[in-house]
Assembly symmetry: C2
Homo-oligomer: 567 residues x 2
């Protein structure tokens, strides 16, 4: 049996690494307390579930995960996906709703573990990066909008941009001025401190390290201040919603309640949550790993995240994954190993044990402001511009993903994005680039007759194919040969030059056989040249080479030489 | 406005073409009468709907279609798909069932027209040929099995192999010996005449043309004989099911009855019927067209087949498309233009007007035998062997298609087949072939260091990438460079040799940027060589070339020369 990944860091653990990890853990704990409460709110769940999802899952990942600095726990996009999926099977606020969220974590965990055991880490490759960026940007917009109702102090809901906008428009008149005031203050302080506080503190003479650490405490300070203000001014009597009573203590180790009908409804969302969570997490892990030359093993990551989600499900939490901002903070704060995560878990556990009564007067609007500021970093419209400049197909895939995520919701959005990028890729390779080529005078080189002054022979048609041949372009190959041949008289030999053909599938072999027999009927021979080794190996297993009316030449020049000498 | 396709043949029509077309039309009419009745039976519809689907649709295709010899009408696979789709929304034998079949033709027609107008003829390229063969083979098996109950004279039903087998097993004890006898006789005669009759007649001194024409009349002769026998022996009293009363006369021009709930259920099946029908039809049309150098325009074919299906819907028929065997007969019988189809329509119309009373005593088992013999030509197990020999991925796609079509039905079967071939193609290009290359001594050629004796430089790593770079393999590219670099010491330059890279999408550009910055952190420069024109054009629109730590070289040799002289 191979060793658990935690062996790699545990066996080298010493006082120095413990010291570094402890500092990082304290900073991340302070950051994670408001985030865990806020993302539970975003997922439509009671705040304690956010804390529960930030204890055992961290320990599980520390044991089974490969990234030393990844900070696992509730994250924005997955929490939004949870709200969408669970909202389809239960009413928010009911026990069934919480149970369904736990079931979703269980299913995602099992799916991730299964994919890890069958070594399917490569599935993420099917998600094109622009599509993922587009999806996350659109999700960020939806998340920010969904928090707007908390900031206005009204009850609005919806899973799509039109639903949310309509819902907000109908209730905006009922805006609570006290809630809005608290919300705007929090937004302003959080936004300003994010951009400027650290620099201001440095200018006041603090060391950069201390200034940075202090700036990271602002969210907690905002929470403490708004809680005190809510308590002192009795804001609940003025309609400001408070977090209220959070059960004190550690989560009970509970077996998730399983219902088949719910599982059937949640299996597809669980798959999407698992994949999106995995893609996000692995890309964060890889980015941070590259800075320290640490390798992230995608298959082991599936197992680590799967274990984290199972741990979440068995301790009353909801789906978790590696978060970007927290992981960067963890890394910057000097975390050396997964020990930092384990220590963060201890910090959150202590919070759950002792600090929850202090959160009674925390206004929900403060948490909403925390979320809005956090997701503002996810929104990246620049990717649209980059894609527009680069390529139509990439641009289309992003726009489809963003528009459908905003208008039809996260699930349809991400599935359409994957569908769009695959379809566009096939569409792009469907009409392969090809060139009629001739000899560059005095050389053995063959180049495009439209771009270069080259020599051709009246009875030889040389076509260079610049694409692998497979089912999506097999028909087009027949068309190319037909069209080019019909424009020329006296052709006796067609040579397909294949230096850029990396693969020929069975559909394309059949198309070549068809081309071969059609040419034969016209008395024209078909030759191949510069076929690559692996492609030639494949062709030898088909009937094409037996039927081919002409020959296969190692170089195009050899083909032309022999065919001109013959005639 | 462009001219209607029929203009192409109408303006050149003369007595000679009329003569040829008339002969072909007579033979095809004789063949189409039993087929149209039989395929209506297969689709679970009253026999007259088979005749109706063989009149106006032929005229519509003759006006709008581009193949001169394609014979449009009811065909086996599409009839089976109709039975499956319509069986989900209505009970066989009810008016709703017939209405749903008409609605299916209407929807398929509209979908085909729409795809034609937006010039989406290329969609068929997404269906790999082996997958289509596998689907048709599995459908042929299902069709033959579904007719077995008619041949045994029992009532069995089912849409999948297990359902049909189970249903047959429970009722096989109730086999009607009279029905079975008629069925076996028909099967034997039809099977034997197909293989041997024409040759026997030739040996008896008949001309090949006459012998062939006579052999083609056997199905009609079998129908006449079994009708006479059923009448004479009063077989209906012995439990042999007869076709019974067929309304005499032409179909009324009727507006299809539209119900939203039915349309929603039928829209996906209609899309599948449209696509499969189109693929089958176009491949028949192309095969025949190639023999006479006639071009088939895929987009115009969509419009032709769309018009045919609309015509079918508005005259009480069901989905139609171009059939293989009938078209070959039409071609062989000397049809010169779409006029032959129009004349065939007249033949079927005359049948509907005058001959239906004569079909009262026709046993259904005779029609079932006709179907079994017809579909036996569709079944092609050889494709499995061919694919097995050629390539794992093609083999997998076929097996998935066949197994799922047999066990879960035609709709899931064909969708899974498309999904499988696309996934396998992506999987195949996901781990691109690459080679570390070195100079072949005394030349400017660079070859794989594992296959050839080549020279390398201690500080240069040359990697040749043998695949287009896109989202599915972008991550793998990073892995290749990382892995190869970690196995060597003292590398200062990495050169990616790209002669076989036909396309780089945005995900791959981002991966290259990532590779570039990671190498830069280690003090290694990244260069590109032999980048193709279109790829270079694309890269110029990205930020990669600005960030690239090294250069882009026209030839790999130039790169190595310059980099070795520098150091």
């Amino acid at each position: 049996m191979t060793k658990l990944p935690c062996w790699n860091w545990l066996r080298l653990y010493n006082r120095q690494t413990l010291g570094s990890d402890l500092v990082a853990a304290m900073i991340v704990t302070i950051m994670l307390i408001p985030q865990s409460l806020a993302y539970a709110l975003l997922a439509g769940l009671p705040p304690e579930m956010g804390l529960y999802a930030s204890i055992l899952p961290l320990i599980a990942y520390a044991i089974f995960g490969t990234s030393r600095t990844l900070s696992v726990g509730p994250v924005a996009v997955v929490s939004l996906m949870t709200a969408t999926a669970v909202g389809n099977v239960a009413q928010q606020g009911t026990v069934d709703y919480a149970t369904a969220a736990i079931t979703l974590a269980l299913l995602s965990g099992l799916i991730l573990l299964f994919l890890g055991f069958i070594r399917f880490g490569f599935v993420t490759n099917f998600l094109s990066h622009p599509v993922v960026s587009g999806f996350i940007t659109a999700s960020g917009v939806l998340i920010a909008l969904s928090q707007l109702s908390h900031i206005l102090g009204v009850a609005a809901s919806g899973k799509t941009l039109p639903e949310l906008a309509f819902s907000l428009a109908t209730v905006i008149g009922a805006t609570n001025p006290y809630t809005l005031s608290v919300g705007l203050c929090c937004l302003l302080i959080l936004h300003w401190s994010r951009g400027h506080l650290a620099k201001r503190l440095e200018r006041l003479g603090l060391t950069p390290l201390l200034a940075g650490a202090l700036a990271k405490c602002v969210p907690v300070a905002v929470i403490v201040m708004s809680t005190l203000i809510a308590y002192a001014l009795e804001l609940d009597a003025r309609g400001v919603e408070l977090v209220g009573a959070i059960p004190q203590g550690m989560p009970a180790f509970s077996q998730p309640h399983i219902e088949w009908t719910v599982i059937r409804e949640l299996i597809l969302p669980a798959l999407l949550v698992a994949l999106i969570g995995f893609v996000e997490s692995v890309s964060v892990g890889r980015t941070l790993g590259a800075k320290r030359r640490e390798r992230i093993d995608a298959n082991q990551e599936l197992i680590g995240l799967g274990a984290a989600n199972l741990a979440s499900a068995f301790s009353g939490g909801f789906p978790v994954t590696g978060g970007f901002s927290r992981s960067v903070v963890n890394f910057d704060a000097g975390a050396k190993t997964q020990g930092a995560s384990a220590l963060t878990a201890v910090g959150i556990a202590l919070t759950a044990l002792f600090l929850t009564p202090a959160l009674y007067y925390l206004p929900k609007v403060t948490l909403a402001a925390t979320i809005v500021i956090a997701v503002s970093t996810l929104i990246d419209w620049k990717i649209i511009k980059t894609a527009w400049d680069y390529d139509q197909a990439d641009f289309m895939a992003i726009v489809i993903t963003i528009v459908l995520t905003l208008t039809l919701g996260v699930e349809i959005g991400v599935m359409s994005g994957v569908g769009a990028s695959i379809s566009l890729h096939l569409y792009r390779t469907m009409r392969p680039h090809f060139a009629i080529v001739g000899t560059v005078p005095g050389t053995e080189h063959y180049r495009n007759i439209d771009r270069h002054k080259v020599l051709t022979h009246h009875n030889i048609l040389s076509i260079r194919i610049d694409e692998s041949l497979y089912f999506a372009n097999a028909a087009f190959l027949e068309e190319i040969v037909d069209t080019e041949l019909s424009q020329r008289d006296g052709i006796e030999h067609v040579i397909l030059m294949c230096p850029a053909v990396n693969m020929i599938d069975l559909s394309a072999v059949e198309a070549l056989q068809e081309v071969n027999s059609r040419l034969l009927e016209r008395g024209v021979k078909l030759h191949l040249s510069e076929v690559k080794g692996p492609v030639m190996d494949a062709l030898k297993r088909s009937a094409l080479l037996l039927q081919l009316s002409g020959n296969v030449y190692l170089s195009h020049h050899a083909a032309v030489l022999e065919l001109t000498q013959k005639s």
